[in-house]
């Protein structure tokens, strides 16, 4: 590479064939973060590349150090560049979205899923990031982290107020939906804490069920489970396993096809990759469609997890955004 290229922070510029497609990226790429890249050698960058797009599964709370999390976050969305490539990645990797940062409790970024007094849950082998959220009312997405678990709040909402708010702020560089600014809108902590406990109480008491969004890294859509239908962790873990097994197999094949396309169709326009893989899926497995909808958090959810009543109708208020994704049921059986 003789000409100094615009370095984009995703590390995808230069070397590999994929990145040559990024030549089309307008030169207005963010230069500030890219200034850290110029001295990286080629091999690192190549390996970074593939790692950056590789679909991987990680344990809850872990952050793969080489992976550029920013690839999947709002930075990418706000920059129009990388277009279809990024968009398709996002669609596939919606599970990696850190939009649940406001549910993180604690400054070390660990996912906290308090249930029956426990604060850490390893739900299953494989990457299942639980996002506890009082979804039925779904009114408050407060950075105070008070909604974690959607369980009745302790009578001391204000004890950890500062820690919670600050830790949420520390992670506020990650949300996919929008940035949350410290202290804006100007609402007193007392009010924020009170409203948070309000909504948690309401949704829990009123509905008698506790729906929780579950996402898996790399799955094309998310699922919802009613935690109240399970009595033990084991039950939850096996239920979630069943739910996500199809993805595991599908994803592995998807990853292969992805890489295949990368090397073989190096100069393919980003959009072609998406069409390419779905065509491939069609060919290999026959096609089946599932109905999904986009909820107010911007996540794609499988229709049917939440019983159709007034509360879930609130969730599905985005009728024009219904889309069909490809899923293959046959793989589960095999």
């Amino acid at each position: 590479m003789s000409t100094p290229l615009e370095h984009d922070y995703t590390g995808l510029s230069e070397t590999s064939s994929v990145e040559r497609s990024s030549d089309k990226i307008p030169s207005s790429s963010s230069s500030s973060s890219s200034s850290t890249h110029p001295n990286e050698d080629k091999t690192t960058r190549t390996s970074l590349n593939l790692k950056g797009i590789e679909l991987r599964l990680g344990l809850p709370g872990s952050q793969s150090p080489e992976r550029k999390v920013s690839l999947f976050c709002k930075d990418l969305e706000s920059n129009e560049r990388s277009n279809g490539f990024a968009v398709s990645l996002k669609n596939l990797m919606s599970g990696a979205k850190r939009g649940f940062s406001d549910a993180i409790d604690g400054p070390n970024g660990k996912w906290v899923f308090p249930m029956n007094g426990k604060s850490d849950v390893e739900l299953a082998k494989g990457a299942i990031l639980a996002s506890p959220r009082a979804v039925l009312e779904g009114k408050n997405k407060l950075p105070s982290g008070r909604e974690v678990g959607g369980l009745p709040q302790s009578p001391k909402p204000v004890q950890d107020k500062n820690i919670l708010v600050r830790s949420a702020n520390e992670h506020s560089n990650a949300p996919a939906s929008k940035a949350q600014v410290v202290g804006w809108p100007p609402i007193r902590s007392f009010r924020k804490n009170t409203m948070a406990s309000n909504s948690a109480k309401n949704s829990e008491d009123a509905a008698g069920c506790l729906y929780v969004k579950v996402s898996m890294d790399g799955a094309p859509y998310l699922r919802k489970v009613d935690l109240k239908t399970y009595k033990t962790y084991k039950e939850i873990s096996s239920a979630l396993e069943k739910m996500f097994t199809c993805f595991t197999l599908g994803i592995q094949s998807l990853a292969c096809t992805y890489i295949y396309f990368n090397t073989r169709y190096g100069t393919a326009a980003p959009m072609d990759l998406l069409y390419g893989e779905s065509r491939l899926m069609d060919l290999l497995h026959g096609s089946e469609y599932v109905l999904t909808y986009e909820d107010k958090d911007g996540d794609w959810m499988l229709v049917g997890d939440v019983p159709l009543d007034s509360k879930s109708n609130e969730e599905m208020q985005e009728p024009e955004l219904m889309q069909k994704h490809v899923e293959d049921d046959k793989q589960i059986k095999s």
Partner: protein
């Protein structure tokens, strides 16, 4: 003791005359007339208000006013409410209590806001002031139920205990039981901030039943519905009441008990609380609604139809606090029913959601301002605004004195024209000549500050966020607003020039807060050197400002005038000048 004045009014006469002058401003003027009046006045001043606890030292206050009975102190800057001031910044009350314990044995009222109060301070209060009557801790922190127990046990004549919006640590002490059985003086009790573990019902009931003068009772949300009715029956002369949890489903016996209890309270004028209220229980309060002047529903998740019904029963309402569930339709109903309305505050139910979850727009506010001629104070959160709406509000309400508008998304333009909201806010300051408090939001250029500087001559407090284009904006405000006392700014492109040019103005103001603006450390140092009676505090958690280039902007800046000099209780992340005119690290 002052000398007898032979040729003018005697000391006793003057003292008697001064006793009719209550306002601080007037007292200050009186004391500036001549030396003898200064002397007489300072000996008979009974009430002190210190808007910034670091502007003066307790010793100085005691030296000048030796016979104070009531003191009010404020600590942290206002933006501390929104978590912009890091923990540990300051605002400690203990030094004040320690000094006053010795100097003012007859002190009977202490009112604190945004201060750090420890159990030690509370214990010292309980021990030192024999006739202690009033303790108000608003948005304070740092104390626990242990401290409250000390107050309850020792203050035999306590009349008012108000803990509004404070953070209290629960040490599982049943502090309410520490009020002795002989204690009967309570007039006003506000414990709405306490958690469920901190209040024992039986102790509460016993306390209420033996205090015949109880007029204001604000309980916490853990008191269940049946207990509420009982307590109301024990205190039928209440004027203010904060209602409790209504989360049970409707039961007719509970309902009729509650309705009966409320109908007993003929003097009830103010209701608040309403956490978790189930709308079916609302009719229980209809009997008191016609006399209600103040209603705080800002924690209640009641929807518009129920709110409209409720509001239509309250024709005497002067003050309403509510969530945006009221929607435009509810505000229109308010405008037609409540002609005496003076204050309206509408809070967002879901502020962090990009999409509105309630149909509340600027139209609601316009309806209220057109329908309620006495409207004076507005706090309104919404998601869109137009210049036309603001102009309508301004023209229909020249008597507005507090106007705080928060458009939730920063930099939101006029949704009709796409233009900045300069003209709208300009109309507000131009027509509302008595405006003393203003908060801006939305897309705003330097123009709005030009209008403010030109017209807002009585403005005392201005809050600005995400607005302006350049230093000129800040310059307009500092050079034009003659009555300005408090200015708080965040995320605006205001920098060194405006600040240094108007350095003298800062001494005429109580305080200036600037965070995420463009002020350099160098300018802060310069300002410190030029203005010895200003405390220039650079609040920066990133480390010593010296470690960055001097033209690097500071994170947060808090400048306030002080006759006490720099303070000695600063945490490591606050930098200010020290005696050597260098900057202390």
């Amino acid at each position: 003791m002052p000398k007898r004045l032979a040729s003018s009014l005697s000391y006793e006469v003057l003292e008697h005359v001064f006793s009719f002058i209550q306002s601080d401003k007037d007292r200050n003027v009186v004391s500036a007339v001549c030396k003898s009046w200064y002397e007489i006045e300072r000996w008979c001043r009974r009430k002190i208000f210190v808007g910034n606890c670091y502007a003066v030292s307790p010793k100085m206050v005691i030296r000048r006013f030796p016979q104070v009975r009531s003191i009010e102190l404020k600590g942290k800057p206002h933006f501390a409410d929104f978590n912009l001031v890091p923990d540990g910044w300051g605002g400690y009350v203990l030094p004040w209590i320690t000094e006053m314990a010795g100097a003012y044995p007859w002190l009977d009222e202490i009112r604190l806001k945004r201060m750090v109060v420890t159990d030690e301070s509370l214990e010292l209060i309980a021990k030192s002031f024999k006739d202690f009557k009033v303790l108000v801790l608003a948005s304070c922190e740092g104390f626990s139920t242990d401290g409250l127990a000390a107050i309850a046990a020792s203050c035999k004549n306590l009349r008012e205990l108000d803990l509004r919006e404070s953070e209290v640590d629960d040490t599982s002490v049943h502090w309410l039981s520490h009020f002795p059985e002989t204690y009967t003086s309570m007039v006003s009790l506000n414990i709405s901030c306490l958690g469920s573990g901190e209040v024992s019902f039986s102790a509460l009931e016993r306390l209420v039943s033996r205090c015949p003068n109880l007029r204001s009772l604000k309980l916490n949300r853990a008191v269940p519905l049946d207990k509420t009715a009982n307590i109301l029956r024990l205190a039928p002369r209440l004027v203010e009441f904060s209602a409790c949890t209504y989360s049970a489903e409707l039961r007719s016996d509970v309902f009729s008990n509650l309705a009966g209890a409320f109908s007993n309270c003929k003097e009830l004028r103010s209701l608040s609380g309403f956490w978790d209220v189930v709308p079916d229980y609302l009719p229980a309060i209809y009997s008191v609604c016609s006399r209600l002047t103040s209603l705080n529903l800002s924690y209640a998740t009641i929807l518009s139809p129920d709110l409209i019904k409720l509001v239509s029963h309250c024709p005497s309402l002067q003050r309403l606090l509510v969530l945006d569930y009221i929607e435009d339709s509810g505000l229109e109903a308010l405008a037609s029913n409540c002609k005496d309305l003076q204050e309206l505050r509408v809070f967002p139910s879901d502020p962090f959601d990009a999409e509105p979850n309630a149909s509340l727009t600027e139209q609601g506010l316009v309806a209220v301002s057109l329908g309620c001629p006495k409207l004076q104070s507005v706090l309104y959160f919404c998601r869109r605004m137009s210049n036309a709406a603001l102009v309508t509000i301004a023209q229909s309400h020249p008597n507005l004195n507090r106007f705080r508008l928060c458009i939730i998304e920063p930099n939101t333009a006029d949704y009709l024209t796409g233009e900045p909201l300069d003209v709208g806010f300009g109309a507000i300051v131009e027509h509302c000549k008595d405006l003393i408090r203003l908060s801006l939001s939305g897309l705003l250029t330097d123009c709005v500050f030009e209008y403010i500087g030109k017209y807002a001559k009585k403005l005392e407090m201005l809050s600005v966020a995400f607005a302006g284009d350049s230093d000129l904006g800040l310059h307009h405000v500092l050079s034009g607003c003659e009555s300005l006392r408090k200015l708080e700014i965040r995320d605006c492109p205001f920098g060194d020039k405006a600040l240094l040019t108007n350095a003298a103005k800062l001494e005429t103001m109580q305080s200036l807060w600037m965070s995420s603006c463009s002020v350099s450390f160098e300018a802060c140092k310069l300002l410190s050197q030029k203005m010895p009676r200003l405390n220039v505090e650079v609040i920066d958690e990133r480390g010593p400002p010296d470690s960055r280039p001097e033209n690097c902007t500071v994170d947060k800046l808090y400048i306030y005038r002080s006759v006490a000099g720099p303070r000695f209780d600063m945490p490591p992340f606050v930098w200010t000048k020290d005696e050597d005119l260098g900057l202390r690290l």
